[in-house]
């Protein structure tokens, strides 16, 4: 079994696989084990603010697993609401990104080949300029004496400013705005590889363009839809910055609650349990994304 591998990389192969492996184990996998461990410990007033799981006293080794943090989270309606709020926010914004992003990706994929690069660059460019600054731009637009309200009042559409900043509406706008490029990129990747002859065949056989879209284009771009949706959905569930800056007191999201538990209440065990449950909720979308990744990598080969 080992021979073909040795043929390619007789020397230094251990290094090549070893360094990234070791790094990721140490700085990616091990941290999760620690979060899991702390989520099972009891909060305490000490440094660090939790009690050790393992204690040794009177010649007996004791391992105390405290499930209280998890019970607390499920019993307290605040946490449950925050999880539901995050999931709802993620569903709506993913759908919003899909509805705006799909036609955009489609138009780019249909554009002349020499223009496609520029158009994709134009879509991606905003996501390279600071994410924080793009959220900040919306603060100036949405505030009560902001640009949008001023324009609407000047036009005479409204007589007094509409409260937009610090509402869920502002959070929706902010999230769709910042995550839209992440939806468009995978959609464009699949749509641009679409075999044009299939579409021609459909129209030769008398299919109307809308019908062709539903029966041919959309099913063939399923992979891109899944990848794009997961690239939006998963990070939005844990989003902290956008609800903090654009949302109000009623926009409850789990990322924000976790942040507050950790930094303000200094309750590390509860913060860790919140993270573990969040990860549990995301297991299905993460597996979906990985399956798509693996598939698209294999189809390239």
């Amino acid at each position: 079994m080992k021979r073909p591998l040795k043929f390619r990389l007789p020397k230094g192969q251990h290094w090549i696989i070893g360094l990234p492996y070791f790094w990721l184990l140490l700085f990616f996998a091990l941290p999760f084990a620690i979060v899991l461990k702390i989520s099972l410990s009891t909060a305490a007033i000490s440094i660090p603010p939790y009690e050790s799981l393992v204690s040794y006293a009177d010649e007996s080794l004791q391992i105390m697993l405290n499930l209280g943090n998890y019970l607390l989270i499920f019993e307290d309606s605040l946490y449950v609401q925050a999880y539901l709020g995050s999931l709802k926010m993620a569903c709506i914004t993913t759908l919003g990104c899909l509805l705006i992003g799909y036609p955009m990706a489609y138009a780019i994929a249909r554009a002349p080949k020499k223009h496609q690069g520029v158009l994709i660059l134009l879509v991606m460019l905003p996501s390279w300029t600071s994410f924080l600054i793009r959220v900040y731009a919306w603060m100036g637009l949405l505030s009560n004496n902001g640009v949008i309200n001023n324009v609407l009042m000047w036009l005479g559409v409204i007589s007094e400013p509409i409260q937009m900043l610090n509402t869920n509406f502002a959070v929706y706008i902010g999230i769709i705005y910042t995550y839209l490029p992440f939806m468009i990129l995978p959609l464009y990747a699949t749509l641009s590889q679409l075999d044009g002859s299939l579409l021609e065949a459909a129209s030769d056989l008398g299919s109307r363009s809308l019908n062709t879209f539903w029966k041919v284009t959309l099913p063939l771009s399923k992979g891109g839809v899944i990848a794009g949706s997961m690239l939006v959905f998963i990070p939005v569930v844990g989003e902290f910055v956008i609800p903090e800056l654009l949302g109000g007191p009623d926009s409850l999201m789990i990322g924000k609650v976790l942040w507050q538990e950790f930094f303000n209440n200094r309750d590390w065990p509860v913060a860790s349990s919140l993270a573990i449950i969040m990860l549990g909720l995301l297991i299905i979308p993460i597996t979906l994304f990985h399956r798509y990744q693996a598939k698209s990598m294999e189809s390239d080969l």
Binding site: I17, W128, I133, A137, P285
Partner: protein, 274 residues
Amino acid sequence: MSRLSKLSFSTIMLWAGMFFLYAPMLILVIYSFNESKLVTVWGGFSPKWYGELFRDQQILDAVWTSLKVAFFASTMAVVLGTMAAFVMTRFKRSWGKMTLSNMITAPLVMPEVITGLSLLLLFIHMADLLGWPEERGMLTVWIAHSTFCASYVAVVVSARLRELDLSIEEAAQDLGASPLKTFFHITVPMISPSLAAGWLLSFSLSLDDLVIASFTSGPGATTLPMVVFSSVRMGVSPKINALATLIILTVSLIAFICWYLARRSERKSLPPAM
């Protein structure tokens, strides 16, 4: 007829979407030249907030910290990501390869609060058990950023590695080049555009990151997004408008130069008939 079909629903959506993406930034740039202290009331043209910005020592320090972290993090990310990409594309399917490729793609979608929290807890544990890192600061942010940027590099580089013609490398090895020599003399030059792209992508991701940096940074290392975030939380300020404008202009300029260079090298490699 062709004009009519060009104005399809998707084309209209494309331009509306572009407007949606760029209008807020354009307004931000315009308002950065606002004389008035009130961000939303126009008080005449003035570049005075740029002057204020360059006198703000805290922001200047943060810019320098961010640039240093981003430089080292993206360099490390390219090393790690390229090695991982090499394993993912060239090694036989095995248990080790599967775990590595799962671990390297996981940070792409992991919510930042979870990554940040778990890394912070790791550093605290390490400090407890090993006495290292003594305190959190630039080093810990560097480690955190290298890790998640390596994922992006791995994706970009492995896409390129997959396209490569293996026979060139095999020819070099048949002619007696050692694998290491083959890698540096044949493979690296061929994948260099994707290495550069991965480096630049990591650099901008690291410069932009707020959440992970907030978790893993210590008192001595405040990055630019952390300063911006704490000042924005207090409310909108015209100085931030000026800073935002400078960032937008720099990024657009770099992106344009990269695009131009990429297009030129693409043209060169095409046969003259095209």
